[in-house]
Structures are given as C-alpha cells and as structure tokens.
Symmetry: C2
Subunit: 126 residues, 2 copies
DNA sequence: TCATTATATAATAGAATGGGTATATAATGT
DNA sequence: ACATTATATACCCATTCTATTATATAATGA
C-alpha cells in the first residue's frame, strides 16, 4: 500500500527523466512523423550539435522510448513502445485518484469515452 | 507539425522532472491514500530529512501535482489534478504513434475500454 | 510570556546533467 | 588504399539537483 521504490535509476525514473528535457521531446515528436536516421534529427534540432543529439538519443534509448537500428552507416531511430507504456501504466495506477468523479465525467464527455471505469481502489505501489 | 518547444522550464518539463524522482513519486502515492500534513509525509519517507521532504513538496507543487493548504500550524498536502492532466494530455497526443493498432486493441481488451479512438493524426507539437 | 510543535529557509557538499569542441570508429564509394 | 560520410566517444565547463545540518518563522498551549 505504501510506496517503497528508492533506487534513483529504476525504469520509471529513467523514462520521466528522459521526458523532462524539451529537446528530447522534440526528438520523439519528430519520430512521430516517421523513423529517421540520426542525421535527420540533427538537422531538425539545429543548432544543437550532433554529439548533443547522439547523447539525447542514448538517454531516450535507455529509457525504452526509442530504438536504433543499424542500416549501412546510418542508424535509423524509431519510437519504442516500452517507455510510453511505462508512463501509461503509472498514470493508470493514479488515474482513480488525481481526478474526482466529476472531472472524469467531464473528460469522458470531452473525449467521448470513459476513463478506467473499473480502476482498482488501492494506492499505487510507487 | 515539427516541435518547437525549447524553454527548459515549460510546464511539461517541470511535471516530468518532478516525476523523475522516486521519493517524489512516493509522496504522490502516499497522497493517493489521503491528504496529509507534511509531518506525516516526513514519517513515511524516513530516513529522508524534513527539509528534504519540504523541498520535494515545493517541486511537486510548482509542477501542479500537489497543493498545500495551511490549516493551523500544519500544511495539508493533497493531489492536484493539473500536473496529472498535463501528463495525460502529452501521452494522448502521442498515443496514436507509440503503439500500433494491435497493441491498442490489446490494451483496450485488458482495460475494458477504447484508447482515444478519435485521436488526430498529425504529429504532436512537443 | 515562554516552551513546543510544524514547517520553511540558508548554507554547503557532492553527484548528475546538458552543452560544446575535438577526435575516434565504422561504412561507403572511387 | 584513400577520402568521405555517418555516428559515437572523450574531455571539459557550467549549471542544476539532492541531501544534510543548522537555523528561522509561525502557530499553539500552558
């Protein structure tokens, strides 16, 4: 019932830390358009340097938010679902608490579907 | 279509940065049980020091994840929906991209409801 | 008023982060 | 083999984070 996660580099921390940087979110947004090699991301993120982009890609990859595949001398970057699923899971664990019933109804009306109508009632683990 | 957010301290960055720390996520999980004063959180997060907890509370409050209300000499902390909504919104913007149709169907089956069936198709702004 | 309780702030140390330039490695084409 | 292209790594600097101890402020009760 009470949280116990203490390690500062667990999966969830790595994902949220990766998402906390606007440049890295720009990378993810770019990859929403389509997978692309590092160089294309360097162009889009100018004037950020190429080593800067590469380092951000490492952070995103370790967080499970992207994947890099060697293809010739390029490395094609694309979104990887694990990191996103981690955020989605954490949010789902808290959804029953952060919004009251009225808020959930409002969101439901606005988005045309219910939010976790069968969510469990215990406090999340983390 | 292409992202443009550069300020390192925009709302979303503050929320994700706040969530990147396990101690702060423990605070949120504790507040899922019920609102409580700072001292109760200090007890739960032991051996973290009281000033340490207070600083984490400041980070969470600035991120819109909690609210503090003075009540006598205590300050009652409770979850605040804005920060959670920010995460939910960001995730919704990306949901169409990070999981393929099959994954979304699986999640739908598991959670008993569709995931944003009417999500727009353009790349998110950030 | 005075002591106590609850929380916040100041001062500081150490680790992590983000950025740059320079350089190394790897793959390709001539 | 050699030059070129694509990406990664090394190194350095400045800033930001987390945590601690010591101290200050605010509210309560005797």
């Amino acid at each position: 019932m009470t949280p116990n996660s203490l390690s500062p580099s667990d999966d969830l921390s790595a994902v949220f830390a990766a998402l906390a940087d606007p440049q890295r979110r720009r990378i993810l947004a770019a990859l929403c358009d389509q997978p692309m090699p590092v160089g294309a991301l360097v162009d889009r993120l100018a004037p950020l340097s190429q080593p800067g982009v590469t380092r951000h890609l490492g952070v995103l990859e370790r967080a499970g938010l992207i994947r890099r595949e060697a293809q010739g001398r390029q490395r094609i970057c694309q979104l990887e679902h694990m990191g996103f699923a981690a955020v989605d899971g954490w949010l789902a664990e808290h959804r029953a608490f952060w919004a009251g019933a009225l808020d959930r109804l409002a969101a439901m009306a606005e988005r045309g579907q219910p939010n976790h109508p069968d969510a469990p009632e215990g406090a999340p683990d983390d």
